[in-house]
Symmetry: D2
């Protein structure tokens, strides 16, 4: 099932600056093969729902294994049956 999503990973207790963890999360999502768009409040992605969830699980597993103790991720994920949707179409036509 094709989906569009927004993923925002927040490390809690890793210090006031979360730069390192947020960039690492974005990098891991980009490496997953999903189409990605980084913005100031997260990473937008386009792909199969299962692949999106797998990428998020990889982010949590990897960041924890690299020392981050606590993570909270906010996700918005949308699916529709009436047409193919894409990040580009959502941005320019905002349907």
């Amino acid at each position: 099932m094709k989906a569009l999503a927004e993923i925002q990973v927040v490390p809690i207790g890793s210090g006031v600056s979360v730069r390192k963890e947020v960039m690492r999360a974005h990098e891991l999502i980009a490496e997953s093969g999903l189409e990605v768009q980084l913005h100031s409040y997260g990473t937008n992605v386009e792909g199969e729902m299962s692949q999106i969830f797998k990428a998020i699980a990889t982010v949590h597993e990897t960041l924890h294994s690299e020392g981050t103790v606590r993570l909270m991720t906010s996700i918005k994920i949308g699916t529709r049956t009436d047409k193919e949707s894409s990040l580009a179409g959502k941005l320019f036509k905002t349907e």
Copy 2:
């Protein structure tokens, strides 16, 4: 990986009242075997991250197959390596 999450399923274009779809989503999440708590803005769940994502995929697949054309789900999901966390502990001790 054990996780706590909040799941809010919003049908778009199914009418101003979303009662039927939201209750169906909650029912499907409860049937998944996760520990669940329904509140006014979603369903809180406790379980394995993979099981939580599987339940959400089931909600989208089932509601689409039952006629809902468009769905947007908001998820907050948290994991930590320093201790076991639970919905009950989060509520009463809010750690």
Copy 3:
């Protein structure tokens, strides 16, 4: 304008346990006069939109003045013109 909302306050860089700040935020929201319901992933509130936003601003101002360096708050806020909605009605009838 009457609104229902969910407010989740997350201190960033205050340590892995966020218990103290989250309980303080909930307390400040409750003291604002809004009708409140605490759950494992935030505080649901019912009241005027302007009053809800004022309560959130008070949480940020107060926690910062009490020493929290960084805060990120997630809010979902809903309004409708067809009927009066309430937290209780949303929970039991989920409309």
Copy 4:
């Protein structure tokens, strides 16, 4: 109090395509004088917290007056006391 925020306005019951309402919401936010960045999952803004909340209230009031019956808006809003933050800095340095 300076804040960075993400605003996503979702009309419920206005049809499967929400293009018209979402573009109108973005337009109203842009007209508020806040610095704005449109992306596929919302509008990121930079400005005073009070001004951000006022813009969101204007979106709800205006869309309701123009016929939208039900709206749910998701907001993430962040403040910090250790430094000035900006949308541009958040994007490029992701701190």
